[in-house]
Each structure stands twice: as C-alpha cells, then as structure tokens.
Amino acid sequence: MNPKPYLLFIIAIVCCVGMRVYAQSVPLKGKVTDQAGNPVIGATIKIQHSSKGTTVGADGTFELSVEANAVLEVTAIGFDPARVNVANQTTITITLTENKKELNEVVVTALGVKREKRALTYSTQEVKGATLVEAKEPNIVNALSGKVAGVQITSSSGTPGSSSRIVIRGATSFYGENQALIIVDGVPVNNDETGNLNSGPGTNRLADIDPAIIENISVLKGAAATALYGSAGARGVIMITTKSGTGVTKKPSVTFSQDVSFETPWLPEVQDKYAQGEYNTVTKQYEYFNGEDKKTSSSWGPLMDTLTVNGQKLKKYNQLKDFFKTGITSNSTVSVNGGNGLSDYFVSYSYLKQTGTTPKTDYDRHALFAKYNTKILNNLTSTFQLNYSSSQNDRLPEGYILEAPIWTVLTAPISWNPLPYENADGTQRVFRYSRNNPYWVLDNIYNKATVNRFIPVITLHYTPTNWLTITERMGADIYSEQDKYRESRGSAANPPGRIIEQNLNYRQFNHDFIVNATKDVGSFNLNLLLGNNVYSAYNQTEYAKGTGLNIDDFDNIGQASAITYNETHYQSRKVGFYAQANVDWKRMFILSLTGRYDGSSVLSRDKSFYPYGSVAGSFVFSELLSPAVTDVMNFGKIRLSYATVGNDNVRPYQLNTPYQLPQGSGDAAGVAGIIFTNYAFPFQGQTGYLLSQTLGNPNLKNERLNEVEVGLETNFFHNRLGLEASYFVRKTKDGIIPGVPIAPSTGYAGTTVNSAQMQNKGLEILLNAKPVQSKDFSWDMTINFTRIRNKVLAIYNGQSQIGNGFTSIIVGQPYGAIVGTMFKRTASGQLLIDDAGLPFSDSTGVIGDINPDWMGGISNTFRYKQFSLSFLFDMKKGGDIQNNVDGYGYFYGTPKATEDRADRVVPGINASDNKPNTTVVTGQDYWRRLNAVTESIIQDGTYVKLRTISLSYDFGKSLFPNSFVRSASFIVTGRNLWIYSPHFTGGDPEVSSFGSSSGSQGMYSFSTPTSRSVNFTLKVSF
C-alpha cells in the first residue's frame, strides 16, 4: 500500500480547512423584509463570487457564515435585487424594494413547480380564484367559460348539477377521453360524468370541488407544458391550486359569504295560435282533436281564437310557463385561516343548495376543505390536506326518450289541460299515446345520485441544500356514488315499472417523488428535475335492475318481479420516470428539455413501455432592446416548442376476445319504429355467455401526439398592455380506436386498432389591457380569441367514415361532422320537388359541423372607489347544432316557425318534368316533410352572450369602523342575462342535451333549458 496518495489527500484537506480559518468567517444572522417590514418569504441570499448561499425561512430570517466585507446578493421574485456589503456586522436587516413595474408573474407549472412566467417556454394562462368565484357557478368548468384562450367549454342542460365539457386545443382521440386532465395540488382527480341512470346528462365529477377553495387555476395547454404529466396531460391540464393560510398575520381570519340567486329558464318559442288536431284530407280542414277520446301527437288543429266547442271558446294553456318554475340557489361559505409562522391552516366549508327550473330537480352539496402547512424541520416542510364533499343530485330523464317529461311539455298542444294527470281509473291522462303526462312524471319518476368524495394529499418538501429540493407527494381520489332510479308502473315507456340501483366505487392513488436542483453557473441558471410517478386507478360498478313493480309508494328493489344484478370492475396502473432540464442564460435565452418513460398496464405486454419528450426554447428579445424601445415594449418574448407524447387512451382489457353476458336493448331499431327488446342473462333461470363482438388486439401499443407550438408574449407601457399569441399544430398518430367497425361477416362487429390520425391547428390570442389606472378609478380589460381547425386524417384500412354518437368521423372532415339526409337539389342549388309537391331526400351526406369557426371572450372591470362593475361577453361563431326539438316539432306543429301553415307552393323544380313546381301543399304536409329530412334542423349555433355582469360594493371599514369586521362587500351578479343567437330557435345554443361525452355533442333535444339568473352575495371578513 502506498501511503503517498493518502498523505497528499490529508494535506489538501488541512489546507482547505486552514484557508478557511485564515479567512476569518463569522456567523451572520439576518432578516430580509420589504418596505413595510413584512418578511420576504422565498428570498435567496448568495455570497458574491462564491457558491455559498441560503434561502430565508418563513419568518424572513436566515443564518449564514460569511467573511468580513463579503457582499451578499439578495434576490426575491417581485422585488428588485439588492447588494449588501456585510462589513463587520453580525446581524443585518436587508430591505428590498418591490418591483411594481416589473412584477414578474409567478405561475404554477407542471407538478406544482412555481416558475416565473417569463421563463416559460410554452403557453399557459392563469385564472385567479376570485375571478372564478365571481362567475357564481357551482361547477368549476362553467366558471372558466369565456375566459381562457384555446379552451372550449360546453354546458349540457340546465338541470342543477348537469355536466359541462372542457376541451383544450381540440379533440385528440376518436373514442377516448378528449377532456382536459384535472390536477388539484399536484394530484390528478377524476372528472368522469356519472349519475344518470336513464337518458340525459349526468354530473362531471369536478363539480364536487368547491370553487371557493381555489387560489388560482393554471391552464397548461400544449404538449410541451404537460409532458411531465404523462399521457393524460397531452389533452391539456387544468392545474388547480387551493388556498393556503400562508402569508397572513398570526391572527386567524374568518370569512363568511352568502349567495342567493334566482333562475328563470331561456324557453324556446312555441306557437300559441293553433289547437291540437290533424288535417282532414276529406273535409280539407284542420280538424280539432280534444286529446281525450281523439288523440294525436300533433297541434295541426284550427285557430284557437275562432274555435268553439259546444259554443264555448277553449282556454289557452301556456304549457312551458306553467311547467317551469323559478329556480333558487343558495350558497353559504365560511372559511378560517391563520398561522403562527411555523405553521398555518386554511379551513373552508360550503353548503350549496340549488333547486332547478324543472320541478323536483335539485343539487345539494356540502364541501369541506382543510389544509395544514407546517415546518417540521428547518429544511422540511409539509402540507396535509383533505377535501371532502357530499352531494345529492335529483334529476329527471332528458332527451328524446318517451319518459322524458320535457318532450311532452315542449310539444303539448296549447288547447290541452295537462291536469289532472290521472284518469278516474288510475291510468295516466295524456293527449296522445306513448308518452307520460309530464306532471305524472314529477310524482312517479326520479333519478337520485348521492356522492361522497375524499381527496387527501400529503406533500413533503425537503431542502437539504439551498439548491436541492426533494418532494414527496401522495394523493388519492376516492369517491363512492349511490344512484337510484325509479319509474312507477303505468309509465308509457316501461308499463311494468322499474327500479335501478347502481353503486360506483372509485379509488385512485397517485405518488410522485421529485428531485429538483437549481444552480447558477456564471450567467446560466440551470434547473434539473428528476422524478418518478406511480399511479393506480380502480373503479367498480354494481348495477341492479328490478323490473315489474308491485307496490306503489315503496321504493325498495325487492318488490320487483325480476331482478338482475351485475358487477364489473377495472384496474389500471401506470409507472413513469421523467426528467426536465431548463437552461436559462442571462434571463434572455431559455432552453427547456423534458423526457418521460412510461409503462401502462392497458397496452400489450411487449409494448407497454414507451418514451417521449419535448424540446422548447424561448428568447426574451426585449432584453436586447434599447431603453427607448423598452419604454414602449417593456417585455417581449418569442417561444418555440416541439413535443411528442405517448398515450394509452383506452380502457383496460382490450387485448383479448372473451365471452360476455349477453344483453340486448333495442336490437337494431327499425326505421321509424323502435323495438324494445330488453333481455338480460340470467334469462328464465338460465345463465349464458356469448362471444364479445369486439375482437381483441393482442398487439395494442401506445398512440402518439406530436405538437409544434410557436408563441409571442409582449407587454407594453410597463405592463399596461399585454399581448400573447400562440399558434400550434398537433397531430395524433397511431390513434387507438377501440371497437372500430369491421365487417360483421368476420364474426365480429369491431376490433381495437392503432390507426387513427387526426390533426388540430389553432391560434390563441390573449390581450390584457389596463386603459385607466388611477387612485380612484381603474379599468381592466381582457380579450381572448381562439380559432381551432380540426381534421381527421385517417381511420382504418381505407375506411372513410365511422360513427360517433350523433356525429361522424370522416376522413377529410373535422371531428364532429354531422351526417344526415339532405334535400335533393338541382346543380344550381334549387330544391327538387316530387309529384306530391314536396321537397325530398334520397341521399345522406355531411350537413353540418359542430366545431365553431372561432370563440372569444371580452371581460371588463371598472373600479371606482368602492364600487366595481365587471362584465364578461362570451361569443362563439359557427358550430352547428341538430335542433331535435324543432325536428320533432315540425311534425307536431309546435315550434313558432310552424305558425306559418297556410297552403303553399314550395319553390323549386319538379323532379319528373324539370319545370317549376306548381303543386299546392298544406302547411302540415310541408312541415312534416321537413321533419323527415335532417338537413332542415341543422342550425348555426353562433351566439354572443352576456355571461356575467356584476356590480359590487366594498364596504371596507366604513360599515363597522371600530368592530372586528375587517371587510365587507355586497355583490349583485347577473348570469346569462342576454343571449344573441340569430340562427338557433331554442333558448341557449350552448347545449348538449345528452351530456359531456364526445359522442353526445351537437345535439339539442328535450333537456331542461339553461337559465338566466340574478345573484345577490354578501361577503364579510373578520
């Protein structure tokens, strides 16, 4: 053994230590405060020309060993940097001045990492919690409406608790999930639509989260922003950060707010002139049917004003006004927060009670949120939080199913008295066959959904050195839902009656371990992040259906003559390893690289792991501009990114072809005739299994989403005016299509393949302006604009079209093309008329597109002393809707348009002799022909809405000057007060009557109309 290396080693150490001794370092105690004396949390202290440094604690203090005359560099976000010479001091207070002019926005990015917005290489937008609460919407998705560029939000129906759909930058999957991923404090939460056991929308589960607990929402839009989130993040991420107790004085503060709002529905216009009846071809008159012994579905009767029955005129009923009522919502929130420097807490409880405009519908929600931050050790902080919510939603079936009461309400004749709803013999009293009396439905059909949800999260941050942070985060999303549906005997759709009980159990666990290192090397700031994610999701559905009820006023399923029960559960797991490197040179050039390697349980075994990543860069060119220019444009940045994300957007268990329980429901509806063939196994005492009709694909692999994004961010006049624009192109490749149709003569109706290709191109523009800013009066304005173009590039094997609910997926068309029957026309576009004098159809084709041309929002806030007035206009140009209410209505003669029912000659060319048409037809025949051709009910859904207008008065201390009341405010808000929709005949074109799934879009059917409402809020803080 050679002693020399060891000796040299020891000498070296001694020298180093010695040199330090010679340098006479002293311990320094200090505090960093702002000009008001408050500690500046997060300030960093670095010894100039050395790598030593520290960060301040929660109270702004720090300890550091420094040599005499060392110079400290102190930086903090939002403050001007300071250089302080220590001289010979052992204690020091450093005061930083706030940099109001260059207040650099801090944005929460992927995984909860806070970064300055200027350092980001991709597009994000923030919405503050206060803005969300201003919207007075119980559902967070609705609260974001009209505010964020690149985001399309569509509500479904006006029933309380109804779902809303949120899609960022266009659809990326044919049948998989297209809605954005929701993350709360770093943990993904489930946003499935559940709760409706019959037809119509359910509730999207984000509704369980109370908007009042939200500090802010970051919308991360492109794949580069979300590459760290794994595959699900490719659809865009809504990052919700909840409130904390940090940053307040030690005294606990209590805030109480109470909202009351009144809602009235936006009703479609129906004709109010003609009675129930049909055209009599013998007498050539519109004949009156009284709905009792002469029944018909239609209102092609005589004019009410001149109609007399037995010498008496008939009473006119306004069916809509009589049925719908004013809905009332009350929302009470109380929250407490406080802290003592080492720990702080935030607790909030809300109770929302909403009754709907349709009677017997309501939504109740209790939401409790508690968060506790504490410093366990000097360099170990932890956060414990729990979100609990309990809700109950009562609703009725909606859409074009026979049980839906609104179908009958919207199409009932004005000459018919809907009450009493029962005949003397107990049967229902209806003006036509095959429907329920809507008032009978109120007493005999219900759909209840009760949800209890827990979202616990534990986060630990460990900073062993000032440049290293280790984060450990564990979160879960657990909910259990109990759904119950009852339909009494005597219902037209199900005469024996039925009860359905469904229990859903959902459990999701997410674990992240992240190591984050930041170092300054010369003029480079380097940041490296490494992490691991483990994710597991389990959901179980238990479904029991009892058909044939035997006891009235008794709801237990045990009374049913036949009860079937089935249970299914799904388990999926994912593992991911990810890394992100950011290189920032002189705060001018920023390069960002991410990489991730995922493994997913749902893909085939040898293809379950797949890598992906992104590279992005931005250049803050305003740093290079002369001061003269920066006086005008104080900030300018261009950014460019490319990302590729692997995705496993498919349910588990698609690899094999098993047997399954046979269940038939309406085997192949006949043309204009619906056959009810409900069968389920066990059947008459026998169990049975038939082969699944979807051929499994044992070679299923991940799909891929590639995105290029280029953006520009500029601020003018010292942030008085800001303009951001982004342009993106994203392509889905190897897209998974579960159940793509194949020729049934293969023995199977579908199979799962990796062959879909789809593309989205879009432009997002965001403009922020503060035209007026003075002590007493200020005016803020934000305008956002989005234009997205989607195109389906390939489906499977040369197939050019597959169905997707109410729309179709067609190669060369956007996702969401509406296909239906079209009128036959001449080459020049004139209608061809048949020999009966009516236009006709003999072909189907693309007749509409549900995607808008562009969307935008304008929001303005005016502040004058204590008053504040803000309003938000939300607009959408284009976006076709199938107006199914008019579709059926044209047959019945109920929409306002059918008031025009005189005999007429339809302008067009006769198909047989090519001469202009001269045949006279009745109004009834004309409208009924229109009912048969889908083209006639496609309406352009363009709208401009005054989504919210609110006036608030902040009492400040003036109300109770010497009391413990710290602040109080009173707010009046109007929602949906004005809608301009020139082409749509229903009330509100922002509608999707069957819910928030991809296949439900673009259809307006018999659902509760959305409402206009007035809301009064009183908010007091102690």
């Binding site: 588990p652 399954q660 192949a668 169990t687 049975g688 299994y689 049934p744 023995g747």
Partner: protein, 461 residues
C-alpha cells in the same frame, strides 16, 4: 465505485422488473375466456329465435308481405324505403351474434366429444345461414367467421351456400346418431334435450330448403319434391314438435312479439292480413287477431296511408303476442304444407288435397278452433282444383305461418298469396334486402349494389 454501479444496476433491474410486474394487471376479471356448452347454447337459442328470426329484419319482411304495418307517415319501411345503414344491425345479429357463437359452440362441443351439443349447433347454424341467404342472396360463407384471419371475406354463391346448408343438416343428423351421453337440459329452451325432436327438425329443415330450389336454375321441381318428401318422412310429426321458444311472461323478459307490438313502436296489423281473414270468413280471425281498443272491431291498417289513431287498429291475439306466448319459429303445419306442395308437384292436386286439409287442421287445432267452425271452413276452402291448388296451399300456409319469414320466401317462389305494391310504395314489391352499409365500408364487394327489387339466385320467374 464498481460496487456502487453494481448496486444501482441491481436496483434498476429490480425496479424495472418490479415495474413490469406492477403494471401486469390487464386480465379481465369481468368476462370469462372460456365457458362450457350449456352456457353458450341458452343465449344462442334466444338470439337466434328472438333477434334473428323475430328481430328488426322480420318486422320489415312482415311489412313486405303486408301482415304488419307501421302507423307512421310515408315514406317508411312499409312503403319500401330503405337505406343500407338500416341493415347494419340485422347483419351484425346474423354473423356476430348468432353464427359466430354457433360455430364456436360447434367446435367446443366437437372438441369435447359432446355430439348432441354439436348437432344442435349445426342445426341452428343451418337455420341461420338459410335465413341469411334467403334474404340477402350471395353472402360470405366459406371465408366468413375467420376473425382477424380474414377481414374481407368474399361473397359465396347462393347455390354453394345451399349445398353447405344441406351438408350441415346431414352432419347434425349423423351427430345425433352417435347417441352422445351428454344431453342438454333446461339450457335447451326449445326442446329440453329431446334429441329425437331435434332430428325431426333437421329433416323438416332439409325439406324446406329442398323446396326452396323448385325454380332454381339447374334444378327441377320434381326432383326437389322427391327429396323433400323423403326428408319429411323423418320430419316433424305433430304440433308438439314445433320449434317454439317459451316465454314465462316475466316483466322485461316478455315474448318478443309482445315487445314489438308495444304502443311505442307504432307497429300494428296490416289490412292485407286482417281483411283477408275476414273475406274468407276464416274462424281463426278471433283466435289470431285482437279487436282494436278504440273500436272493438277487427281492423288492419292500410300500409302507405296517412297515420291514424294507433288504437283504432288491431294487434295479434295473445296466442301470438301475449307476454308469455310462444314464439313459433318452425311449425309442424309448415311441414305438412311442404308435403302438400311436394305431393302436388309429384302427384297432382287430388293427392295433395288430404295433406292440405290435414295441414289446415293442424293449425286450427293448435289455435283451439272449435270443430264446427273447422268443418265449415273446410267445406268452403278445403277443396283443391287444378287451377287453384298451388294458390290455396300457399295462402293457407301463409296463415299457418303467421309472422314467419318463410312467407316472404314462399311468395317470391310461388307468387302466392298475391301481393300488390302498396299505396305510395317507392318501388315494386321488394324481393330481397339491401346489403348493409357496414359491409360496404369495411368489405367492399361487387354484389353490394343490389337493389330491393333484384332477385336472388333461386328466385327465378
């Protein structure tokens, strides 16, 4: 340093190995990958009789033969309006729901040596192929049901499919002859494991398919009649041998016709059927038809007329559409009418007459018509002449085969009962169905341009 690398490597392997195991949770807990024969037979029998034989396609065929009508405005399926997408469901029922499972049942049973199950599977398969080719003509047969092995099966000629059907039935009969030990029990809703009845059914079906080819090119009626008579000797012998699906009337599991005639579907009986019974003073009118709720009269709806009040029309009686009625799929009466027609071809109307009368009697006794009424009717309609023999046989067969798809085949083949184009019909009376759009898109073949009025191979002038 080496040690450290070594440790990291092991940890890495464990991690990766552990990860692979952690995500290996993709085995379906909700659906089995293999089941035994009784569990396949029961649902197969239900879907063949309910979804294929009495499903959507059946209601369209009943409109073509003017037994059923929709109470809807023109155009509708009854006035011969059809687009290819209307056939997607029924084609899927034929191949994916019925044939694929029967083929699987056959192979599983053969593998296990359960010859009785194999026989039943073959007989039902033959039945399905028969209905499929009779309605659609040339359809995939030899290349069908291969799953991922062949995504674009070619369409076989109908003649070859008929040969295949006869072969399947012969193989089934041979399987039954093996007298396998394992017998179906309650999983066989149709015959409860009585293999003798299955054998009789196989022979009756052979006879049926022989008779379909009386006008086929290259075949002659006399030969087919001979073959049919030979098969009928071993075929059904009594009403008890009917192939019928029993329903217990449980809520939600009612007879398929009960569900089809629910008010929501707007299906009721057509005037073509009801008026015919009235015109003949057929005593079966009150046994087969219900009076209309609104009027108390026996009224059928004229297809193609403007919609009227739904309850002013009649529905079938509870014998056919009660919640717990049987779904009659193959009737003994049909066997007798086949024999009557074959006898007519071979031996003339005088020899056919007693068989013909026996056939009518079998149906009437099944319905429970009183003997007095029967004999009155026989006096009126029981006599055959050279001029009316075929017509009478076919007309009575149509009544006995109420709601059967066979009536459409018989009309195409013989021209009886006479059917005229309906009011506002958009073409002549159809003679086949359109190919489904799902096939046109996923498996383009030259035959797919066929129109409703084209003739299938055996349907010659």
């Amino acid at each position: 340093m080496n040690k450290v690398i070594y440790i990291i490597a092991i940890a890495g392997c464990l991690l990766v190995g552990g990860c692979k195991k952690f995500i290996d949770v993709n085995k379906d807990p909700n659906r089995p990958s293999s089941v035994q024969e009784p569990l396949i037979l029961a649902p197969a029998e239900l879907v063949v009789t309910q979804s294929l034989y009495a499903g959507n396609v059946s209601t369209i065929i009943q409109e073509y033969v003017q037994t059923m009508a929709l109470n809807q405005p023109v155009p509708n399926s009854g006035t011969y309006f059809m687009v290819q997408s209307d056939m997607n469901g029924d084609w899927t029922v034929l191949y994916a729901t019925c044939l694929n499972n029967l083929a699987r049942l056959d192979s599983v049973a053969t593998l296990n040596g359960n010859t009785n199950y194999a026989a039943i599977a073959k007989i039902l398969e033959a039945f399905c192929w028969g209905q499929g080719t009779d309605l659609w003509g040339d359809i995939p047969y030899t290349q069908a049901l291969a799953g991922a092995g062949n995504y674009t099966p070619v369409y076989d000629k109908q003649e070859d499919i008929y040969k295949g059907i006869q072969q399947l039935l012969d193989d089934a009969i041979a399987d039954i002859a093996k007298q396998g030990v394992v017998l179906p029990g309650d999983d066989d809703y149709l015959y409860k494991g009585d293999m003798a009845k299955w054998q009789k059914l196989a022979y009756t079906l052979k006879a049926r398919f022989y008779m379909h080819l009386t006008k086929a090119p290259g075949y002659n009626a006399a030969t087919q009649a001979d073959l049919a008579l030979q098969a009928l000797d071993k075929g059904m012998a009594a009403n008890d041998d009917d192939l019928k699906f029993p329903y217990q009337g449980i809520e939600g599991q009612e007879n398929i016709w009960f569900q089809t005639f629910l008010p929501g579907s707007t299906f009721i009986l057509a005037s073509g059927f009801v008026d015919t019974l009235k015109a003949r003073n057929d005593p079966r009118l009150t046994y087969m038809v219900k009076p209309a709720k609104e009027t108390g009269l026996y009224t059928g709806r004229q297809i193609g007329s403007a919609p009227g009040s739904l309850e002013a029309y009649s529905r079938p009686s509870d014998f056919y559409q009660g919640a717990n009625a049987f779904n009659y799929v193959v009737n003994y009466s049909e066997a007798l009418f086949l024999k009557a027609e074959a006898t007519l071809i071979k031996s003339g109307f005088a020899a056919a007459q007693p068989v013909y009368q026996q056939a009518i009697l079998s149906h009437m006794t099944k319905l429970g018509v009183t003997s007095g009424a029967i004999s009155t009717y026989m006096t009126a309609r029981g006599t055959l002449t050279a001029a009316n023999a075929l017509q009478r046989i076919m007309e009575e067969k149509a009544t006995a085969n109420f709601l059967s798809i066979e009536n459409f085949t018989d009309w195409r083949r013989t021209g009886f009962p006479v059917i005229k184009k309906v009011l506002n019909g958009s073409s002549e009376v159809p003679r086949r169905l359109l190919y489904p759009q799902v096939e046109v898109i996923s498996n383009p073949q030259p035959q797919q341009s066929a129109r409703l009025t084209d003739r299938v191979w055996w349907d010659q002038q």
